[in-house]
Each structure stands twice: as structure tokens, then as C-alpha cells.
């Protein structure tokens, strides 16, 4: 299973691509031409096969591009996974009030396009009894619109990427543009994705989203602290999704949704750390996952606190 491979290098292919890129760039010459079609980006190899120096080159190029585009200094992090870490997420359904602050906090942190609108978290409203027996997604309403929440007799279920241990999207991707990192986060290389949207067909949770147009983010709303595999501004024509705020979690911080939640419904931590809150709730609460029969083995655990 091509799940958590270590970085594999293919020297001859990298050399060829490097030479090809340098050669064509030299021929292209004109600085203005690069804006319409970035040759260096076109010939960029697969992220997992780049050397540390090549990655640095990519980072510098991207930081230059984003800083120029948004008129403020943007950093692109490429920090790898921490050893001994496998992230897990918990969500207390009995606490969620459907306020959607997580949705908007996520958008602010992760630089989703505002126009066209992309939201990584989808909050479904159910009749309370409909989440007791079995969750039938046909009964859920993602477009509830009340003056105040929680509405009487309703239950709320937020859904985003489940960061499956057996991810269908990773199997489906024809270009190997999406894979699972050693710390459990399923990531996408936006510079490698060909935009075929097969992963979107494969995902049972509707967690993946496509940039149908050039993303529209007002420069003043852009979060300039980005990660290459996470919240850096995406180009048009590629797929994106929740990465458990890889730019935060790999530095020991909570994802934005965890911090935004006003009722403490969201829990996050290291599954390999026996003292973590995620391990606590897995040992003391009755957790379940969505669509368990598909055996995707999600690391997103729902429970009733």
C-alpha cells in the first residue's frame, strides 16, 4: 500500500527534469513571459523526490511569487513530520452547536478561495434522533440558516477530511499527487496535481474540493504563514482539503478549528502519546467513525461527551 513511503529519489529522472527546466528557461529568457507560464514550475519534479536544496529553491520561488502577488511578505514552510507523532482528532457531538465558527476560522487560517467559495468543513444539521440510531446522510442539511443556533431538537455534525489510515483518495490519484505523511496527515502537492478530480470521486466524505477558477483571496485576508503541503495559496485547477493545519500542528499548535470552537467540542493530539487528550477520550468515551463499513480507518473520532 503506497501509504507512508519515505522519500524516494530517482536521480536520473531528477537530473533530466532539472536540465530540461534549466534549458527551456534559458531559451525562454524574457522575465515577463514567466508570469503567464512558469517554466521552472512546469518542470518541477514530484515533491517527495526533490533534494533538500531543490526544495529550498522551490520554497524561495514560491515565497517570491506569493509576496509579489499579495503585496506582503509570505513565508512557505516545508517542515517535515515529527518523529513519534501520529495525529488524531476527536469531536464531541453533544457539544457542537452548529455555530460554524470552525468553518470560518479554517477559511481564515488556510487561505481558501473566497470567490469562488471553498470551505473545508461542512456542518450537517440533523434531527436529534437521526444521529442516535444511524447517521443517514440523506437526512442531513448542510444549508441550515437560523437566526440562532442550536435550533430546537437539532444535532450538528461537522465533517472534513478524516485523514484515513486507508485513504481511498491516495489509491485513486493517477499522478501520485496525494499521499499520507508519516504523521498521518494526507497531503496534496498542488504543483503536481493534474486536476482530474478522481480523488473527489473516491472520497466517501466529500472532503476534497476543487479550484474551479483562479482562487480569489483579498490580500488583506491572506494568512502569510503557510506550509508547502498545507495552506499556501493554491493555483487554479487543483484539488485541496483540510490538512489538520499542518503549518500549525507540526509546530505543536492546535488546528485553527480547535481554537475557534467556543464550546470545546474539538479535541486534537498525538495518538502515540499515551498522555494526550485524544488518547484519553478514546479510552474513556465511546467513539465511532463515519462509514466504518468502508474500512477507510479514519483518524477522526466522533463521540458523545
Amino acid at each position: 500500500m503506497p501509504n507512508r513511503e519515505r522519500r524516494v529519489r530517482s536521480a536520473s529522472r531528477r537530473q533530466f527534469l532539472k536540465a530540461a527546466g534549466a534549458g527551456v528557461s534559458a531559451l525562454a529568457g524574457v522575465p515577463g513571459a514567466a508570469k503567464a507560464f512558469d517554466l521552472e514550475e512546469f518542470f518541477q519534479g514530484h515533491f517527495r523526490e526533490l533534494s533538500p536544496e531543490e526544495i529550498e529553491g522551490v520554497i524561495r520561488r514560491l515565497e517570491r511569487k506569493y509576496s509579489r502577488k499579495y503585496g506582503k511578505p509570505v513565508t512557505v514552510d516545508a517542515v517535515g513530520p515529527n518523529d513519534g507523532v501520529l495525529f488524531g482528532y476527536g469531536l464531541d457531538i453533544s457539544r457542537c452547536i452548529g455555530c460554524r465558527r470552525c468553518v470560518y476560522g479554517c477559511v481564515a487560517e488556510n487561505n481558501q478561495s473566497r470567490d469562488p467559495q471553498i470551505q473545508w468543513i461542512r456542518v450537517l444539521e440533523f434531527e436529534r434522533q437521526d444521529v442516535v440510531r444511524r447517521i443517514d446522510f440523506e437526512d442531513g442539511d448542510a444549508f441550515y440558516d437560523h437566526e440562532q443556533v442550536p435550533a430546537e431538537g437539532k444535532s450538528y455534525l461537522p465533517v472534513a477530511c478524516q485523514q484515513c489510515e486507508n485513504p481511498e483518495c491516495v489509491k485513486a490519484c493517477p499522478a501520485t499527487a496525494t499521499w499520507q505523511e508519516p504523521d498521518g496527515i494526507v497531503v496534496i502537492d498542488y504543483n503536481w496535481c493534474i486536476g482530474c478530480r478522481y480523488c473527489m470521486a473516491a472520497c466517501p466524505y466529500g472532503a476534497r474540493h476543487f479550484n474551479w477558477a483562479e482562487p480569489g483571496i483579498p490580500p488583506e485576508e491572506l494568512n502569510p504563514n503557510t506550509h508547502y503541503l498545507g495552506n499556501r495559496p493554491r493555483p487554479h485547477g487543483v484539488v485541496e482539503k483540510c490538512t489538520w493545519c499542518i503549518q500549525r500542528s507540526r509546530h505543536g499548535r492546535y488546528p485553527a478549528c480547535v481554537e475557534a470552537c467556543p464550546v470545546g467540542a474539538r479535541k486534537f493530539g498525538n495518538l502515540l502519546d499515551p498522555d494526550s487528550e485524544i488518547r484519553y477520550l478514546m479510552e474513556h468515551k465511546r467513539t465511532f467513525v463515519l462509514k466504518a463499513e468502508l474500512d477507510t480507518k479514519p483518524k477522526f473520532f466522533y463521540f458523545y461527551g
Partner: protein
Amino acid sequence: MKSITAFAFYSLKEMVRGGRAYYAWLVCLGVLIWIGVAGFQEQLLHGHIVSNMRDPVPWGVFIGTYAFLVGVAAAAMALAVPGYVYHWKPIKDIVVLGEIIAISAVIMAILFVMADLGRPERFWHLIPFLGKPNIPYSMIAMNVLILNGYLVLNVVIVFYFLYCSYADRPYNKPFFMTLMLLSIPAAISIHTTTAFIFNVLPARPYWNSAILVPRFIATALCAGPALMVLAFQALRKAANINIREEALQKIAEMMVIVLFVNLLLFFAEVVTEFRSATAHTVHMQYYFTGLEGHVDLVGWSWFGASCNVLAFLLLLIAKTRRNPITMNLACVLVFIGVFIEKGVGLVLPGFTPGALGGFYEYFPSRQELMICVGIFGVGTLVFTLLSKAAIPLTFSEPLEWDDQLRAEGSPKVAYRPDAVEP
């Protein structure tokens, strides 16, 4: 080598040589292609937002038509089997034309995928050694590989056959027969992997069934020959060549059998789904009866199914099968019916209702339809040019007249058995 260059020049000359009717036809195709280019330009400028695909239904008419065309391409094999395996003369003559249809269909299929990709310039990411194709897990990666292999195989077969015809040399029987026989499993594999693209996804229960593979093969073997019957009759008139009536009749007879299998598999699916009546039945319900007021596809589903049933009856009854008007009507109905089944009836109900519930009702946008028109124009142009060059070589000046034609008093040119005899 000199001869190959001469052959290439001859073919190109033949493609541009023609009367007013021929050029009028080329101009019409040019207009269609121009429409497609205009639509594609809009898509390049604004992105796929000009389509009506969105996150809940990320695939639409492009992928549906892709699946349909791979089926048509696979059906060229339908001619190869009786022609070369059973050494049946009337069909042997037109196998090359069938292969040319396959080439045109594969080119169109590839163009539809390119039109669908968000980043088509990154297609090289799928090329082995250059890119990083996810083989063997990704069915799209497998399909792309096998489909291109099938294209190469067909091009080699057609090129070799026509070149030998041009250079008046007998073709190398073992080599040619191997290629022809290889094209049979190749054709089955291209369409099997296309079916696998859909049916290996546990997230989409409407597709996640083994029966999708034989259904794809069955519908392919219906639509491909139907197109061939229609195209060959058009060629017969336009190029004044002898495509024997018994060849067309044999194809029509074969279509009865595959149509029956298609209808049987369809019946099996419907009964299984509605009798089991699980939560997954919603997709088929949406397609045939509508759900919660969402009824956009209901007319299409019944129309498509009716086309298939009516076509089956028309071809089953000998009288209507032998009558050219009803036979051609049946072929048109089959083509439409299978297109609806594979285009509308496969992709859209698979995504509706969505993975987390919810309905997004899709219909192709203007730009998507323009691109479809353009790609069909390209495919028809490829077919026109290739058959224009091929026909004089496969249906060349006779050394002897066909008895049947002479009896009919027909001025049509017969085939030349010596040049193409294995």
C-alpha cells in the same frame, strides 16, 4: 524506406484531393472544430468554472462521453473477431475501416480527458519514468497506459496493412495475425479498465458492483458496431465502394445478441437494486423516479432505456433487420440509448445524492457542449482523412468484378483479393 516516404506522400495527397462535396464536408467539420476551440478558450481563460461541474458532481459530460468513446473504440474488435478468427471474407475487407473508427474514437477519448483536466499541461505526470503514475492502484493511470497502447497497436495495424497494400507486397502473415489477435484482448482491457475506474470506488455504491465490467463490454459491443454500420453505409455512398450487404447484416445479427445481453444485465441491476432496497438504492431511484422533487434525469433514463428496447426489437425481427430503413433506425437508437446509459445514466446518478447527502443537479453548460461538438468534429475529421487515404488502397481497381455487383449492374468498384489475401 523510400517507399514509406512515398506512401506517406501518397496518403497526404489523397487526403487533400477531392471534389466540392468533399471540401464542403471538411469545411463543416472545420466549423465544428472552431466552435470547440472557442469553447475551450473560454475554459482556459476562466477555468472549469465555465462548466456546470461543481464539488458534489465533479465529473460530467466529458468523462461520460470518454467512457462511451472508449467503448466504441473497443468495438472495433467486434469486426476483428469474425473477420480474422473465423476468416470471414466480407468482414475481413472492412476491418481496416473499423480500426480507423477505433483510432478516431481513442483520439476523441483522449481529447475529452484533456478537456476535463484542471491542469492538462501536467499530463506528463502520468508518463512512466518521466512522471510518477500510481500504478497499479489508480485505475485512471492504468487506463491511460492501456488506452495509449491500444492506440499505438491500431495505428501500427492500419499503417502496416495500408503500406503493404500501397507497396503491392504481401504482408507478413504471422506478424499481422499476431497484431490482429492481440487487438482482441487489448480491446477488452481498455474497456475493462475504464469500467474499473468507476466500480473500484467504495464511496460510490451505484458504481461499486462487479457487473459494471460486463455491462461496459456489452454496451460497447452494441454502440460500436451500430456506428460502424451507419458510417460504412455513408462511406459506401460517398466513396462509391463495395461494402457488402451481408457484412452489414452479419454485424446487425451480432448486435441482437449483445443487445440482449445488455438488456439482461440492465434488468439484473434494476431488480437487484429495487428488491434489496438498501440505502444505496437512492441513486437508481434518483435516476428512474426522481427523489425529493429532484427529477432532472427521469426523462432521460426512460428515453434511453426505451431506445435500447426498441432497437433490440427492431433488430430481433428479421423483417425489420433486413429493411435498411428500420435497421438504420435501430442503429441510431442503439447509439443514442448507449450514450445516454454511459453518459447520463452512469456518471450523474453515481454522484447524486452526494457522499454527505444533498443534491446537485447537473446539466452541461454552453462551453462544455461547445467543446463536445469540437471534439466530435476532430474525431470525424480524423476518420474522414484516414479513410480517404485508406479506401483506394483497400478497395482498389479490380482484377475481377464481384459477381453479385455485376448481376446488379452496379458501377461500384469491387475489392482486389490478391493484394489483401493473407
